[in-house]
Subunit: 218 residues, 2 copies
DNA sequence: TATAGCAAGTAGCAAATTAATACTAACTTA
DNA sequence: TAAGTTAGTATTAATTTGCTACTTGCTATA
């Protein structure tokens, strides 16, 4: 029997195992910037430092369920877009013990944000140049931003960052922020024309021409 | 309580933990098809069934290292393209116990394939309609193929499936198989022109015009 | 030693998409 | 009523992609 075969048949309880956690990168767009929810750590290690919200995975819940739980516990939110990001397995991620962290990211429109003293949004741009973020969470956030940047162009994830009813200038702004570049108005509209439908309503109270309100198809 | 005191009192073993494994999806292109390496399971569960090669993650190795180890143990290969795919955390993936599997995929040119009786390549197309694949490995393979299909168009992963020296018809065929569609010769060449450089060599022994041999830039 | 067969490789145009600019429309405020 | 401001549309240029037809260099065979 090879070593590998031996390992596969062992009684799992006799061996040391890593802990498995889920960390959540909750993105929103606010003040023309991509932002992420960070909590203040209340325990060692990294006490007092900003960190991603996370939970340990329980034996009776799937990873997706753990991610949902983290989302709900920390934000009260439900039914928003989320997806697995990457699994981080470095040896010294946590000084207490070996922890493998399965990261998820979620996208939420600005309006739904329930901030508290312990849980605040910070611009990604700012986070990435700070030195005080707990664990490897800065790296996770950077990776998440990259994933979003890629997916924006070939999926509809941008719609998850906008309310059900939105204007095209609003939606375009989201695309621009995620992609990190200006887009041409006319071209942008041609491209998403088949993914949306117009309502009979318009914005009001603006100093200029009102813009039509749209909804996503399906 | 100081940080030091806290670390001393923290006993990570009081909680039950899932086991963590790494499963490897080794892709190659052979006989004009995308194929995957499967091993025959020699133990319960799913004894005798085809499964992805995998190992349990050791406490002293990272996930990437475990994936490398699986790759090397099962194939003797080293230094080939590999990347984390997805982490599978369903409750009943394995009847023995809760196992969380971090899947990786790797790409290898056909020439380097070391097959044995226990380790053979199978066409993905065929695998996906079989019912006897162990665990949730069929799903993992399908997911891997999807990932590749996406990444082909915006990265250079296709080059990992071809030897260092290759012809353009050869490379084009790889793209076509990964994308699942025919490409136009002239356009294909324009598109990858800046990623390759020509050598002074040509194929020989063909019944027709020889094709020039190229290499990837960088 | 032609010439037919065959895949490699190139030229070039049509169609569609993307880049870019300029315009018109609808509102508020002075 | 005019100026300011952003929404929305029209239009053209540039680039990319879709597609067809051609030329090239080899082998096999007549």
């Amino acid at each position: 029997m090879t070593e590998e075969e031996y390992l596969k048949t062992y009684d799992s309880s006799e061996f040391q195992k890593p802990s498995v956690a889920v960390d959540l990168v909750l993105f929103t767009v606010r003040k023309e910037e991509l932002q992420v929810l960070l909590t203040e750590r209340e325990q060692y290690p990294y006490i007092g430092r900003p960190a991603l919200p996370g939970v340990f995975v329980r034996m009776e819940e799937t990873l997706d369920e753990a991610a949902q739980r983290a989302l709900y516990q920390k934000t009260g939110l439900h039914d928003i877009y989320f997806e697995q990001l990457y699994t981080w397995g470095g040896l010294d991620r946590d000084p207490r013990m070996r922890i493998i962290s399965v990261s998820y990211y979620a996208l939420v429109p600005e309006s739904q944000i329930p901030e508290t003293e312990q849980k605040k949004f910070f611009p990604v741009r700012e986070i990435l140049q700070r030195e005080d973020i707990a664990f490897d969470h800065r790296e996770i956030i950077a990776y998440g931003r990259e994933r979003i940047r890629n997916k924006v162009s070939y999926t509809d994830i941008a719609f998850s960052l906008v309310p059900e009813e939105f204007t095209l200038p609003q939606l375009q702004k989201i695309y621009e922020i995620l992609l990190g570049q200006k887009l041409y108005k006319a071209n942008f509209r041609k491209k998403i024309a088949d993914k949306i439908y117009q309502t009979e309503h318009f914005t009001s109270g603006t100093k200029h021409r009102p813009s039509r309100i749209y909804r996503k198809k399906d």
